[in-house]
Each structure stands twice: as structure tokens, then as C-alpha cells.
């Protein structure tokens, strides 16, 4: 290929939200990689100010259509910590289930509908050949697995998108015994499909390695919702409430999102980070049946983010079946919300990585200040550095092929641009 060229991708497909990419190569040197998140900012951190804290989580869930449950629960956690509200053990259990339902549906969307077509050389899952037995099976499995995740979210949270039942203090409705059985059956029925998906991603032909750091919330039973510490591949563990103090906000004037560094170095959050750091905490049935897949980690091949997600999907099935079959849910009222001035942090593992909310309330329970750090913002610099290396390593590929390699790499991160368009700080100069 030529020694100097530009690559421009507009409106990258099969990701959540809008982004463009600009790569500039001069004399075989990559001069510039700009991931231009073009998603329009909707200013939620400003809009939440002056609103009653109790209603804030349902507004904030509108930041993102696909991982709305993560925003909802993280904001609820922040508000509860600001006001000193203690919730019941059952509430914690239901929130874990809500996260499992979210993960199963959201990871299925990414693995089957966004990444799998790349592996099978198709543009879309809707182009899979119904007459080809393997492709026919995969398309059915895609929609069955997604439906099982949706059913779990609906059972626990009332809906998969913008769930109405989780509130500050608890849940407004508790699942009934007769509603639980069919969902358990549905989850069980897709377990083998997820194991087959792992087989496909284990044979990942795409390969890209670059040494970086990994960061995730340390969740005791890999539940994505509880945990007091953030762990990193630098062997540093920090209390999650102090997370923000370790992040450095990077100015990226070409992108409507924020970039971050962790203690001055780039890092990655998401399924690959969780699998690299915490896989010993996966459900015991997952550890048995996905043994071969889990043994691949730790790895710094970004394309194994897809495999990591498929392992998490199995874990969500196993962990939620375990809870649903071994718990008698009782009707209970949500914890009382007594307005109080305070400062609270919410930290959860959203499907794409660590999500952080800082909430400050005044004495009548009105939000006076809020900050959010979302996963894709944290991955932005890492994605750009990966693209730089990918281009440098493949300068002799035809431009069209190189562009496809870049698209696959970005897609492997499962970026979410709706979430990413949030700034920590507003001033660049």
C-alpha cells in the first residue's frame, strides 16, 4: 500500500450509537487516530441538578437504551449512599438478577448480532443462510438467548428497556412464584446454545495483542452490582468510592465524549478486564462447563472480549437459575426514603465495564451535583492506541481490508456511544 494515506469511516455500523473514525498515515507513520464520537450530548449531568433524588434514577436510565438497567441501578446506589438508605438482602438479590438479565440480553446483542457476522464473513445476522444448518441454528439461538435475557429482566425489573420496578429503597413489585418457573425453564433451554457460542469464539481467528492495563470492580460472586473495591492488573486495589480520584480526564476536542487514564496510563474496562482479573468468582457450574474457555484468560487479545462476554452469559444463566430456584421471595415494602443532605457514590460493572456515579443531595433530597464516568469513555484512548498499532502492523494490507480490520477491532470492544457522550468536566481550555 501507499506510504501515505487516510482512512475515514463515517457512522460505523453494528455498534450502539454514532461514531466516525479518522486515521492519518504519512511516510509509513501513523500520525493521527481520532475516534470521533459523534453522538450528540444530551447533558444529563446538568439536567439532573435541582431534581428530586428519588426520581433521578429513572431519568438517568434514559442515557442509554441498551444498558439502561445499569444506569438505573448505579444511580439508585449513589442516591441511597448519599441519603444513608439501607436496603434489604432480598433487594440486593433482585438487583443482581436484574443485572444478569441485562447482561444476557445485551451481550447476546453484541456477540450474535454485531460480532458474529464478522466471523462468518456476513454483513448482518439477517443475511445468515437459513438453508445452511449451522447458520440456521445460530440465527435461532441468537433470538432465543436474547429473549431469555429479556424474560429475566421483565420478571424482576418489569421491562428490559427502561425498567419501571427498581426504585430508591427497593422494588415496587416482587416476582411471584408462578412467574418464576417459566423463566427458569427458558434460561435452562438456552444454556447449550451459549456453550456452542463459546466454541465459536474460542476458535477466534482474529488476533490483536497490545499490552495495556485492565480495571474492574471486584464483585464477590461475579454479580456486577456489589463490591467495595476496584482492582487492576497493576496489582493495585482501591476503594471503589475513591475511583474518580485515580482517573485523569483527557481532553479530546474532536470527540463528544471524555477520555480517561488510570494513574497516568491507558486501560481497558469490560468483559475482557473482568475475565482477566476475577474469573475465579464465576458460578461453579460455569467454571465446570466453560473450563476450556476460561483457561484462555488472562489474555490481551482484544478479540477475546467476545469470548469473555459469552462466558459471562453462561454465568448469568447459572447464577440466576441458582437464585431463582433457591429463594422464596416475600412481598416487602421498599425502605423508607428520608431526604437528607449527603454525598454518595454508586459503582457497578455495566456490560461494557465499570460505571461510576457521584451523587450529592441537599437536605430536602434535591440533587445538587452529579458526575458520571461511563465505560466507553474509559476505553476511548485504549481503542485509539490499539488502532494505531493495528495500522502500523498492517501497513501493507489493501486499504479496504485494513479498514475492515479496524472496524472489527472497534466492534470487539462493544462500544456504546450513547453512554460515552458524557463529560466529567466541561472546560477543555
Amino acid at each position: 500500500m501507499m506510504h501515505s494515506f487516510d482512512i475515514t469511516i463515517e457512522n460505523l455500523s453494528k455498534i450502539e450509537g454514532h461514531t466516525d473514525l479518522e486515521v492519518c498515515v504519512r511516510n509509513r507513520k501513523v500520525q493521527r487516530v481520532h475516534l470521533k464520537i459523534s453522538e450528540n450530548k444530551r447533558f444529563y449531568t446538568q439536567a439532573i441538578r435541582g431534581k428530586p433524588a428519588q426520581g433521578a434514577p429513572h431519568l438517568m436510565s434514559r442515557i442509554c437504551g441498551t444498558c439502561s438497567i445499569a444506569h438505573l441501578l448505579c444511580c439508585i446506589q449513589g442516591v441511597e449512599n448519599a441519603m444513608g438508605i439501607q436496603v434489604s438482602e432480598q433487594t440486593i438479590l433482585l438487583r443482581k438478577l436484574a443485572m444478569y438479565g441485562l447482561y444476557l440480553r445485551d451481550h447476546a446483542l453484541h456477540t450474535y448480532m454485531f460480532s458474529l457476522p464478522d466471523m462468518l464473513g456476513k454483513d448482518s445476522i439477517l443475511d445468515f443462510d437459513e438453508k445452511n444448518p449451522k447458520e440456521h441454528e445460530l440465527i435461532h439461538q441468537c433470538f432465543d438467548v436474547k429473549a431469555a435475557g429479556n424474560a429475566l429482566s421483565t420478571l424482576v425489573a418489569g421491562r428490559a428497556v427502561h425498567a419501571p420496578l427498581p426504585v430508591v429503597g427497593g422494588f415496587t413489585k416482587i416476582p411471584k412464584k408462578e412467574e418464576i418457573k417459566p423463566v427458569v425453564q427458558q434460561l435452562r433451554s438456552v444454556r447449550d446454545a451459549v456453550l456452542e457460542l463459546q466454541e465459536i469464539f474460542m476458535e477466534e481467528k482474529f488476533n490483536f495483542h497490545r499490552k495495556t492495563h485492565y480495571v474492574s470492580l471486584l464483585c464477590p460472586d461475579f454479580n456486577f452490582y456489589t463490591g467495595d473495591h476496584i482492582c487492576t492488573s497493576k496489582f493495585v486495589c482501591i476503594p471503589s468510592m475513591h475511583y474518580l480520584e485515580h482517573l485523569e480526564h483527557q481532553v479530546m476536542p474532536y470527540s463528544q465524549a471524555s477520555g480517561y487514564e488510570f494513574e497516568g496510563e491507558t486501560y481497558m474496562v469490560g468483559a475482557l478486564a473482568r475475565m482477566n482479573l476475577n474469573n475465579a468468582y464465576l458460578h461453579k457450574n460455569t467454571r465446570i462447563d466453560a473450563k476450556k474457555a476460561i483457561a484462555i484468560f488472562p489474555t490481551n487479545n482484544i478479540f477475546f472480549n467476545n469470548l469473555a462476554q459469552s462466558i459471562e452469559m453462561l454465568h448469568c444463566i447459572d447464577a440466576s437459575m441458582d437464585i431463582l430456584q433457591n429463594t422464596t421471595f416475600k412481598d416487602e415494602k421498599s425502605a423508607a426514603v428520608i431526604p437528607k443532605a449527603g454525598r454518595g457514590v454508586g459503582v457497578v460493572e455495566a456490560p461494557r465495564g465499570t460505571l461510576y456515579y457521584l451523587i450529592e443531595t441537599d437536605k430536602v433530597g434535591i440533587i445538587s451535583h452529579a458526575d458520571i464516568v461511563v465505560p466507553t469513555g474509559q476505553n476511548q484512548i485504549n481503542i485509539e492506541q490499539d488502532i494505531k498499532k493495528l495500522v502500523e502492523d498492517n501497513l501493507d494490507l489493501p486499504k479496504k481490508e485494513l479498514q475492515f480490520e479496524i472496524e472489527k477491532l472497534i466492534r470487539a470492544y462493544d462500544p456504546c456511544m450513547s453512554c460515552a457522550a458524557h463529560f466529567l468536566r466541561l472546560k477543555w481550555v
Binding site: 455500523s13 450528540n40 441498551t66 433470538f143 428497556v161
Partner: protein, 162 residues
């Protein structure tokens, strides 16, 4: 030789929003994909496939509010190349919550002013109907599934597909 049945040529677009209605569509596919792949050709849907040339669309579903000059140019192009346009979800139908910055006080407006200027945001965020002619509306946050299905059915019938 049997004639290939006509499919409804659908476009699916999003602007300033959280794409919840797009996610709803991918969830509706869980039970309807076999029926829809027979009846619908998603000629332009970034969530499902690589974008192609924008032309000759029967019905375009538009999610999200209009926030920038670029949005307005784009939605006008969609209108020009679509026989019908349907606004889906609260942001496209009413502007909110994407338009919440319209209600900010002067101090907050000043705080975000630099970003608005830098990325060429318009002074006000507006619903789709303020910019182009909209033929149908599916309200809700996310859009109401039953209303969407009725509207879709109406266009399938109109184009002789169902």
C-alpha cells in the same frame, strides 16, 4: 417462474436519543424475525448492517430529536428519499428528554455553551415534526410496542406486502 414477493423497504435512523426504540426493535425481532425477513427489507439500519446509499425507501422510522445543523441536513435527506416518515419514541415525537437543555437556566446554559458552539449544536433541540413532514407518530419512552406494530402493519398493507 414464481415472482419474488415485494418487501417493504424500511429505513431505520437515530439522532439525539438513547436508541431505546432501536433496542426495542431488536427485541421484537426475537419473536418476529422469521415473519419480518419475509416481509421487510431493512435497506438502511445501522444497528443491523453496514450503511448503504440512502434512496428509494418506502418507510423511514426516525428515532431521536434534532440537535445540530448536521441532524437537520440528514433528516431532510431522509425525507427526500422516503415515501413515508414515522417518528418513534419520545425524543423524536416531543423532543424530550433529549431537549432538556432548552429549559436550563442562564448559568447552566453558559456552562455548556462552549460545547454547543464547538460541535455546532443549535440553540434549541426540537422534535422531528419541526423540521420535516412526519406521517405517523409512535410515542413512548421507549416507544409503545403495540402502537408501533399497528403503524408497521398499516404500511405493510399500504404497499401490498401483508
Amino acid at each position: 417462474m414464481k415472482k419474488t414477493p415485494r418487501k417493504l423497504r424500511v429505513g431505520w435512523f437515530s439522532f439525539a436519543c438513547c436508541e431505546d426504540s432501536t433496542i426495542m426493535m431488536t427485541e421484537m425481532l426475537n419473536t418476529r424475525w422469521q415473519e419480518w425477513t419475509k416481509k421487510i427489507d431493512f435497506v438502511h439500519a445501522r444497528i443491523l448492517r453496514t450503511e448503504k446509499e440512502l434512496k428509494n425507501i418506502d418507510v423511514s422510522f426516525v428515532e431521536g430529536a434534532m440537535a445540530t445543523d448536521k441532524d437537520i441536513r440528514r433528516v431532510k435527506e431522509i425525507r427526500k428519499n422516503s415515501k413515508y416518515v414515522v417518528a418513534i419514541g419520545a425524543c423524536a415525537v416531543d423532543g424530550m428528554p433529549a431537549a432538556q437543555r432548552n429549559l436550563f437556566d442562564e448559568k447552566t446554559k453558559k456552562e455548556i455553551g462552549y460545547i454547543l458552539e464547538h460541535f455546532r449544536h443549535r440553540e434549541k433541540v426540537v422534535p422531528v415534526k419541526k423540521v420535516i413532514k412526519v406521517d405517523d407518530f409512535v410515542a413512548g419512552c421507549p416507544m409503545q410496542e403495540d402502537v408501533f406494530l399497528k403503524v408497521l402493519d398499516k404500511y405493510l398493507k399500504k404497499f401490498g406486502v401483508a
